[in-house]
Symmetry: C2
Subunit: 549 residues, 2 copies
Amino acid sequence: MCHTVSVTGQIEHTLRGSWTSSGAAAAHLSPTSMRWLRQRIGLTDTTTPAMPSSLLEVPGSALPQDARAELEALVGAANVLVDDAARLGRAGGMSYSDLIRRRSAAEFAVPDAVLLPGEAELVQGVLEICSQHDIAVVPFGGGTSVVGGVDALRGGKRAVVALDLARLDRLVSLDPTSRIAVLQAGMRAPEAESLLAAHGFTLGHFPQSFERATIGGFAATRSAGQASSGYGRFEDMVEGVRVATPRGEWRLGVAPASAAGPDLRQLAVGSEGALGVITEVAVRVRPAPVRSRYEALVVDGWQAGSDAVRELAQSHNLADVTRLSDVDETEVQFALSGGLKSRALNGYLRARGIRKPCLLILGWDAPSRRELGRRRTATLRALRDIRTVSLGRAVGESWKAGRFSGPRQRDALLDKGVCVETLETATHWGELSELRSAVRTALVRSLRSGANRPIVMCHVSHAYETGASLYFTVLTPRAENALEQWQTAKKAAGDAIAGRGTISHHHAVGVDHQPWLEAEIGGIGNEVLAAAKRAVDPKGILNPGKLLS
Amino acid sequence: MCHTVSVTGQIEHTLRGSWTSSGAAAAHLSPTSMRWLRQRIGLTDTTTPAMPSSLLEVPGSALPQDARAELEALVGAANVLVDDAARLGRAGGMSYSDLIRRRSAAEFAVPDAVLLPGEAELVQGVLEICSQHDIAVVPFGGGTSVVGGVDALRGGKRAVVALDLARLDRLVSLDPTSRIAVLQAGMRAPEAESLLAAHGFTLGHFPQSFERATIGGFAATRSAGQASSGYGRFEDMVEGVRVATPRGEWRLGVAPASAAGPDLRQLAVGSEGALGVITEVAVRVRPAPVRSRYEALVVDGWQAGSDAVRELAQSHNLADVTRLSDVDETEVQFALSGGLKSRALNGYLRARGIRKPCLLILGWDAPSRRELGRRRTATLRALRDIRTVSLGRAVGESWKAGRFSGPRQRDALLDKGVCVETLETATHWGELSELRSAVRTALVRSLRSGANRPIVMCHVSHAYETGASLYFTVLTPRAENALEQWQTAKKAAGDAIAGRGTISHHHAVGVDHQPWLEAEIGGIGNEVLAAAKRAVDPKGILNPGKLLS
C-alpha cells in the first residue's frame, strides 16, 4: 500500500519560496527566524562579535635561520612565509572552539612559518630538512578540520611549520578506461570537480566542507560526502596514494583489490598527517550525471524514518543522497527556512497522518532520464509500506542549493550569541536509536542551565547495509565561558558514544577525539599505530599531537 | 542493436549432457577428454601416483615436555595431538608444490604438535604459553592455502605447533536487524551457510575452496568468492574481528564505517596469521536468495569480452557471478566437458559470427523472480552492443554445479602426469590485456620444452569499476623435476606481474609471493608491517616466514 501523497500546490509554493531563501548565498538569518530561535532556546541579547585579525597577538616566528635558508633554497624564498597574516591563516581549523578562540583572542597555536612547495618531490625534501632540524610539520589543506587536526602543535620540537599543499593543485593524469584520475593533494574539491567535468567525469564527493576542502584532506581524514550513499565514502574512491614520509616516498595501489597482505592504503587513508604527507591520490571517477533530481518527503517519527532508510540500504535502493532528519531537526529546518508558516505546514501534515514530521531528502544522479526514473521508482517502491507525504522537488532542490552553507550559517548564529556545533558517530542499525537517545540526553543534560533550552537535533546522512551515521547539531545560548561550555558537552557526548559507536564517522580524530580512541581500537590498536608511526617518522615530526597522543 | 541469439535446441541438449557430466562429483576425466588433452599438450605416459601417508617419514615431535604439560592443562590433553597422522594432516596446504612434495615424499615441514582449543580465550592462553616457551604458532583453518601460508615453519624457534581452529565452530550471535553474524573463526564455509540459512540469511562467499575453507581463513587471506561481483570480497563483509595476539586480545569494529584514524580492520584482514590469530569475525549477511539463475553466453574474443565485463562493472549491471574465460580456457572447458563435439559447437558459433569463442558465465541471486528478471534484463541490456550467443541455462547451471570441483579435477590430472597449477593477479582496466599477455608469454616461454605444448588459460572472475582480476590455469606435461619446473614458471609469472598488477588478488602472500611484495607495497610498506608485527608479537612466534620474511 502506498501512502505517499504530494504536497498541494499552495503549500509547495510556500515551501519553494521559503527554502530557496536559505540557499547557497544565505549566511543571513531573517528576523523571523531569529525571533523563533531566541524564543525556542531562551536566547538573550548576548553577541559574539568577530575579532579583526589585526587585534590578535601573534608570537614571533621561531623558525631557525639555518633551517629557513635550506627551506628557501628548496622551495623558493617566495614559498616560505613568516609574516603574521600567513601564519595566522594556517593557525587551526574550523571547529566551534577554533572560532570562539579567534573571536575571543584566546591563546592558540600559530605556526612559525608556512611552506608552499609546488611539487610532490619538494614535500619529500621539506620533510628531510625538517627532520634534520627537529621541526614539527603540520600538513595543511583546506583548513576545515573541526577536530583540531591542523592545530599548529609543536610536540616538543624546536619549531612548527604549516606545510600548505595549495600549490599541489594539478590533475596529474586521467585514465578514462579505468576511470581513475590522479589528483595532487592540494587540489580543492570544486577545482577537482571542474577539471574532471571537462572530461565528462565527477568524483561525486560533496561534504559540507566542499567549497574549501582538498583531495589530500579528504583522504587523510576518511571524509564522507553528502552523496556517499551513491558514490561511497572517500576511502572507497581511493585507488592509490603517494605519501611523503621522513623515511622516503611511499606509493600504494596497483590494483582495484588485492590479497597481498593487509590493505596498507587503508592505513594511509585516515592517517591525518601523522604517518606521512599525502601528495597525490588516485581516485575512482564516474561519468558526470546527465540528470539529477532532489525531492523531500516527510515520514512520521524517527523510528519509522530510520526503518525506512534501513530498508533502502538493505534492499540496495538508496538514493545517492539520503538524509533523514529527526523531529527536532525538521522543526528547526522548517522554522529557520524563513517566513514559512510552519503551523500551516504542520496542519497540512497532520491531516495526512503525520504527527511527528521527519524530513527525508532524497537525491538521485543518473546518466539518463530513463535511469533516473528507474532508480527513483525503485527507491519509492521500497518505501511503499511506510507512510510518507511528499513535499515535492522545491524543498529537495533548495536543500541541494544550500547544502554547503552550513559554515556560513554557523558564523551568523555565532554573531548572535548562539553556541552552535556539530558532532557525529555511526553504529549498527540494532543500536542506532539507543545511541541517538544516549547522545541527545548527554548533550541536553550538559547544556541545559537556567533559561537555556538547548536544541539537539540529529540526522542520518550516510546509510549502510549494517548501520548508519548520526549527525548531531546543537543550538543553545552561549555561556560566559564558551569554550568550557562546549568542552563539557562534548565530553558528555563522547562518553555516551564510546563503546556504542565510533567516535567519528567522518570528522577524524585530530586532537579532540583522542580521549576515546583507545576505547574504539584498543590498547593494541594504539600500539600498532604508534609502531607504524615510528617506522615512517622516527623523530616524530609529523603533525604532533594528532591521531596519536 | 542486440546480437544475442539463443542456442538451438539440439546444441543446448548436447551441452546440457556434456556439462552436467563435469559437475560436482566429477573428479574423473573421461577417456575422450584425456585423449584430447594428451594430444593438445603433448603428454606422454608419465603418471604422478599418490603416496600413502604411511610411507612418508615424519620427524619426531620436538615439543618440549614442560610446554606440552602447560598446553594440556589449558586446552585438555585430548586437544594436544602429537601423533604422526595428526601432524601430517596439518603439514602444509594445497598448492601444486605441496601436492608434489607429498606425492614424491620430498622433505616438508611438519608441526611438532596440533593444538585444538575450543574457545577464543584458550587461543589467547595458547599464545601466552607458546610465547613463554619460544614456540612458533601456525594458525590452521581449512588448510587450503596455495601459497605456503600454513607451512609449519619454525622460524628459529624451539618448536612449531599448528593451532587448528576447528573447534571454534559456533555461530556466536546473529543480529537480523543490523544483518550481522558473529562467527567463530574455525567454522567451515558450508557450515556457516547452513547455520545462516536456518535464519534466512547467506554470506554469499563461494570461493573454490568453499568446501574446506574457514571463516578465519577467509579473513586472514582477503579471500574473494566466485560471486564477489554481487556479494563483495570477504573484506567487504567483515564488520569486526576478534584477534588473539601475544600482547593480548584485540577487538575491532564498532560501526559500519568510521573516520577514527586508519581502518585497522583492514590491517587484521589479510594479516595471514602473522599479526594475530583471528578467533571471531563479525560478518555482514544478506537474505538468502529465493531465486537464482545461471546462464552462459559466448562473446567473440578476449577484448570484446573484457570490454563487456568492464561495461557491466562500470554501469553497475554486473551479475552476481560474472566470469569471462579467454579463448584457451573456453577451448579447454568445451573439450574437457566430455563427449561434446566441440567441432559442432564451433561451427554453430562461427555461423553466428563468433570466431574466437570466449565463454561468459552469468549468475544472479535475487529475493524474488521479479527482481531477478529486472537485474538480468539490466545486465543483458548493457551487453546489447556486443555480439553474444547464448548457450542457455544448462551450461550456466552446470558451471554452478561443478564450481567447487577444481581441486578434485586437479588431483585427477596430477595422477595422469599433468602439471596443473593456477595463479592470479588484478590490475586496472587500462592495463588488463597487456598484463594478461605478459603473464601468458612468461608462462608459455618458461614451460615450453621438447614436445610440451603448455596451455595457459585465463579468466576474469572479479570485476570492479576500475579494474579486474586475472586468473591463470596452466596445464602442461610434468617434467622430471616437477618442483623446479613450476617454481621457474612461477618466478617468470611473478616477475611479469610485479609493477603491473598485484602479486595476489585473492590467494594471499604466504611464503610464495614474498619475493614480489616489496615491489608492491614498497620498502616502507614492509617496514610498517614489520613494526606492526613487533608491536603485537614481539618474540615473532606468529606464523614465521609468512607475509613478512
